[in-house]
């Protein structure tokens, strides 16, 4: 029993990342009808927003500290972040420690801008082209984005720690009456899960309870009619692209402490999140979220020692296997809408 709970918990944070990326992919697909292969790259850009932000914070200048000396007896030169000069040492230190959560504030405007530029500059011209062309051009865009990041940040992963307050793990088992230390769950992963739930709920609420969201949903159902009613639906859809980019971006920001950002992490996630979208059903937002969590949990279940022993290698292929079965038996995915991309 405790094994099962551990696996569910382990699956949750990976599932949250899948769900957030798949949600963005589906938003773009449902509104603009574009298959965006560059979405993983947007996730990666988000992660690097966190890296950039923490580097900006620790931008420093050299100060000679008279009280201490280095091993040659000269006065020691210390790097002092500018932020320390402005805000005092204590506040500055805690801001630097909290750089990852704070960089969300930095990432949102950046990612929305990037999203708008991509949509207006590139994807706009591909609405009328076949899906294969859309896949290809966004695939090219993904390569370009990741090479740009590689040029500026190098090819090695960059460790981006979470705030020290969240180091360590929660002994989850005690609450449920298990022995201590049977079910441990790192704080940051738990935060990631709750964070993603909040984001997902926020996106759904935005679509469900605002006028803007209502218009967007109407546009998803019947774009032409909404246009005939005198609403500039294209503008709203463009904004939805920006929103989807921002969702992918903050998913990346918060994931930075879990997996150190490297330039090709987007591609690794992209393949899986496409599988997630297809399993959930092209164009269905709840389907994407549900399939994200489902596949995340399934993946961690499959890597339980007991199961790996009886089906060797199952943990490597389970997601693809599920995708193949679902695609062949339920062509529309788990919750796909009728008439969306059926051949």
């Amino acid at each position: 029993m405790d094994q099962i709970i551990v696996q569910v918990l382990n699956g949750l944070d990976k599932g949250s990342a899948y769900a957030l990326i798949a949600l963005g992919l589906t938003l773009i697909f449902g509104t603009l009808g574009v298959v965006n292969f560059a979405h993983g790259a947007l996730f990666m850009l988000g992660s690097f927003c966190a890296v950039t932000f923490s580097r900006l914070l620790s931008f420093s200048h050299e100060v000679i500290d008279e009280t201490r000396t280095d091993f040659l007896g000269n006065p020691l030169k210390v790097q002092v972040p500018y932020i320390q000069d402005w805000l005092g040492p204590d506040l500055a230190a805690s801001i630097i420690q909290w750089s990852v959560p704070l960089s969300i504030l930095f990432a949102i405007p950046v990612m929305i801008t990037i999203g708008l530029i991509i949509e207006r500059g590139l994807i706009k011209h591909f609405y009328k082209r076949p899906h294969a062309d859309q896949i290809l051009v966004t695939f090219g865009l993904a390569i370009v984005l990741q090479e740009i990041i590689k040029y500026f940040f190098g090819a090695n992963p960059i460790q981006t720690p979470a705030p020290p307050a969240f180091n360590g793990s929660l002994d989850f088992g005690i609450w449920l009456g298990f022995d201590p230390v049977t079910i441990m769950y790192p704080y940051w992963r738990m935060i990631y899960f709750f964070f993603s739930v909040v984001i997902i709920a926020g996106v759904f609420a935005f679509l469900q309870f605002t006028t803007f969201g209502m218009v967007v949903r109407a546009g998803m159902a019947d774009r032409e009619t909404v246009g005939l009613l005198g609403i500039d639906i294209d503008k709203r859809f463009t904004f939805m692209f920006g929103l989807a980019a921002a969702v992918a971006g903050i998913a990346g920001v918060m994931y930075a402490p879990i997996v150190a950002p490297n330039y090709h992490m987007g591609m690794d996630f992209l393949v899986l999140s496409f599988v997630v979208v297809v399993v959930g059903g092209m164009g269905s937002l709840p389907g994407a979220v549900a399939a994200g969590f489902l596949l995340g949990i399934l993946e961690s279940f499959a890597s339980m020692p007991m199961i790996v022993q009886s089906f060797p290698g199952i943990n490597q292929i389970i997601i693809y296997l599920v995708a193949i079965i679902i695609l062949l038996t339920r062509p529309r995915g788990l919750m796909g809408r009728k008439g969306v991309m059926e051949e």
Partner: protein, 398 residues
């Protein structure tokens, strides 16, 4: 010639001439000169040109004709490679049985994958092939280690004793050969500063490439090729005409899978080792890029695209900062550093960036690839010439 129309026959002859003279054509700069780093006429790279050319030709039969975008073609390449190396380990180091074996195994594998994947089309087909390829990659990496060698891959070792070959001396490692002639054996020709290498392995691969190119032409011009084009342009109408597209697409899928297996077998024949990374999905993506860049649906495009990418990968990527400094040395100091800083991100290690940008430009502006670009320039020049010709003919009439 060989049942080809004269235009296709000329194309085949042109490709044959280019392929057979490649060691000379690709070495235009004398040895030791500053430009010799752009020489591509060394066996290893030329082999890659033709082998990936075969792969691209095969992919083009599927994507160019039927429009089905497979994102998992590298799996067939990998499976073919594994089959070939096992044939070398167990049966004989002669490359012909191993290549045949590679083609058969890849064909069977692609039959299975194709039968399942082709039940869907569009993006779902792409995702299904991608899923199969990633599964093969993960399995080769982990569980199938006894067969695939896992992360280290497979090499020919001195402990391998092929069944049909003569016993080797202790510690000697078997070499891939064609009836006793080693693939690595080559003839060097020194000619007044130029150095040309004629390598047996390259010529074997080039001849195989020419045969596959010939088959591709025949397929393109056959009624079967017509059917495949029909699948691309309008499946519904095809159904109304009482034709099922499925057998045709499946046949195209298997043929292109066998081409990939052939390429995999040849890769092993040239360099007797395999690793699972050959099946990773970025490798499949590279095949897609090759074909699109050259021109999907054209005969020559894929070969050009493959050559182009491999040239970039091997030659342009070697240019480092100091070489660049040398190039711009004639400029004033500040300008020199500036030019190096501008150019450097795009070449050397950053060649992927150039590739990505070029790929995007081709997809956006030239859906027919570089071939279409060439045709456009050609027709533009012709038009210009015609205008000039008209001018000259009208003048005397005054």
């Amino acid at each position: 010639m060989f049942g080809l129309e004269s235009k296709d026959g000329k194309l085949l002859l042109l490709v044959a001439a280019l392929a057979l003279l490649a060691p000379v054509i690709l070495n235009p700069f004398p040895e030791g000169s500053a430009m010799s780093q752009f020489n591509a006429g060394y066996p290893d790279l030329m082999q890659r040109f033709v082998i990936f050319g075969i792969l691209a030709i095969g992919f083009n039969i599927l994507f160019g004709l039927t429009g089905y975008l497979s994102f998992g073609h590298a799996a067939f390449l990998g499976v073919g490679s594994y089959a070939a190396i096992w044939s070398m380990k167990l049966v004989t180091m002669n490359i012909i049985p191993s290549i045949i074996f590679a083609v058969i195994v890849a064909g069977v594998f692609s039959l299975v994958v194709g039968y399942i994947s082709l039940r869907r089309s569009g993006i779902y087909f792409s995702i299904l092939t991608l899923a199969f390829a990633q599964m093969s990659y993960s399995l080769a990496y982990s569980v199938l280690t006894p067969i695939t060698g896992g992360e280290t891959g497979l090499q020919i070792k001195s402990t391998d004793t092929p069944l049909l070959d003569k016993a080797l001396e202790a510690g000697e490692i078997g070499r891939a050969n064609l009836f006793g002639y080693g693939m690595g054996s080559s003839y060097q020709l020194e000619l007044a500063g130029w150095q040309f290498t004629f390598n047996l392995g390259y010529y074997v691969a080039a001849v195989v490439m020419l045969i596959s190119f010939y088959f591709a032409i025949r397929i393109f011009r056959s009624p079967f090729g017509m059917m495949l084009r029909a699948v691309k342009s309008n499946q519904q109408r095809m159904n109304y005409a009482g034709l099922s597209p499925k057998p045709y697409t499946l046949a195209a899928f298997v043929i292109s899978g066998m081409y990939a297996g052939l390429a995999g077998g040849l890769l092993v024949a040239m360099d007797t080792q395999v690793g699972p990374e050959r099946m990773f999905w970025t490798a499949s993506g590279e095949i897609v890029i090759m074909v699109i860049l050259g021109g999907a649906g054209t005969l020559l495009g894929p070969v050009l695209g493959a050559g182009f990418i491999k040239y970039f990968e091997n030659i342009i990527s070697k240019i480092n900062e100091s070489i660049l400094q040398g190039w711009f040395a004639f400029l004033p100091d500040g300008l020199q550093d500036f030019m190096v800083a501008v150019v450097y991100p795009f070449i050397g290690k950053g060649w992927h960036l150039t590739l990505g940008i070029m790929f995007m430009l081709v997809v956006i502006f030239l859906p027919g690839g570089l071939i279409q670009g060439g045709q456009k320039i050609g027709s533009w020049l012709r038009r210009k010439k015609n205008v000039v010709a008209k001018d000259s003919t009208t003048k005397p009439a005054e």
